[in-house]
């Protein structure tokens, strides 16, 4: 029963945050709601005994990817005209309130889940809810995809540097600046 209540609260907040991400005009507000959304989804993972995945979700998604989004948003320095300014004005205390509620619910999700709260055999839970088991699986059966993922990340680093590098001002660029595109 407790699990159901936590799930429905999480689900309602996830849906609300997803809609907010999609509908807000202000990209910074949307990115903040994306962080919240990813954090709540980490709560859903914790509810399903995937605690390590929940930790990875918070660290990698909310911690790294959305920070990258925010960096780019700040770097572009879009004017209100670019955004056709927002009508959705959110007061700060609302954001703080939602954030606090999120933290409480994710905490409850972490408390409710786990071996005691679910009617699964201990054998299965040892298998799926265990970080050690994930590590063994990852480095035994999935070692090749794992290594390929490292190459993929290296390629992504090089590619993003090459793409975002400032190219020399050529004739073509000047032509484009006049509005040929």
């Amino acid at each position: 029963m407790g699990e159901l209540i936590v799930f429905y609260s999480l689900a309602a907040l996830i849906c609300a945050c997803s809609v907010a991400v999609v509908t807000f005009r202000n990209p910074v507000a949307a990115a903040i709601f994306l962080v919240l959304d990813l954090f709540l989804i980490a709560g859903v993972y914790a509810l399903q005994n995937a605690h390590f995945v929940a930790a990875v979700q918070v660290i990698v998604y909310a911690g790294a990817i959305v920070v990258l989004f925010l960096f780019v948003i700040m770097l572009l320095n879009l004017t209100p005209n670019d955004l056709r300014h927002s009508r959705h004005k959110v007061p700060e205390y609302m954001v703080m309130l939602v954030l606090a509620v999120t933290c409480v619910i994710v905490g409850i999700a972490l408390l409710v889940s786990g071996p005691s709260g679910v009617d699964k055999t201990k054998d299965v839970l040892d298998k799926i809810g265990n970080t050690e088991a994930i590590g063994i699986e990852l480095f035994a059966n999935y070692i090749w995809p794992f290594e390929l993922a490292s190459i993929l990340i290296l390629l992504a680093i090089i590619a993003s540097i090459v793409i975002a590098k400032k190219d020399k001002p050529t004739g073509l660029l000047k032509q484009n600046k006049k509005g040929v595109f």
Binding site: E3, L4, F7, A11, I14, C15, S18, V19, V21, V22, P27, A30, L34, D37, L38, I41, V44, Y45, L47, Q48, N49, A50, F52, V53, V56, Q57, Y61, A64, I65, L68, F69, V72, I73, L75, L76, D82, L83, V118, D119, V124, K127, I128, I134, E137, L138, Y142, P145, A149, L152, I153, L155, A156, A159, S160, I161, I163, A164, K166, L173, F181
Partner: protein, 100 residues
């Protein structure tokens, strides 16, 4: 007890929100946020399947999806910067030419 259908419905809602962003927003940054939402919906399905079947493969897949998402975000945002530097806008209405 929360059944797997609950999680699948939640994932569907999140996926459609992301799809809405990709289809109907004109700002490239919002479209990329939509892609992140869709990848997260897929991750929810993977984890719930892993939990339902008592098998770890779904959780392992989530790690690879997260890796791909990180790479996609890095390259996509680099492209956003390059586009903004070149054309002065990231509104897709103004980016109609496929020529570099």
């Amino acid at each position: 007890m929360v059944s797997i259908e609950h999680y699948l419905i939640l994932a569907t809602v999140v996926f459609f929100c992301g799809m809405f962003a990709v289809l109907f927003r004109r700002n490239i940054i919002f479209m990329m946020m939509g892609i992140e939402l869709m990848l997260n919906a897929v991750n929810i399905v993977f984890v719930s399947a892993s939990n339902e079947l008592g098998h770890l493969d779904g959780q392992i897949m989530v790690f690879f999806v997260v890796t791909v998402a990180a790479c996609e975000a890095a390259i996509g945002l680099a492209m956003v910067i390059a586009i903004f530097r070149r054309y002065g806008t990231i509104n897709t209405d103004f980016l109609r030419v496929l020529r570099g």
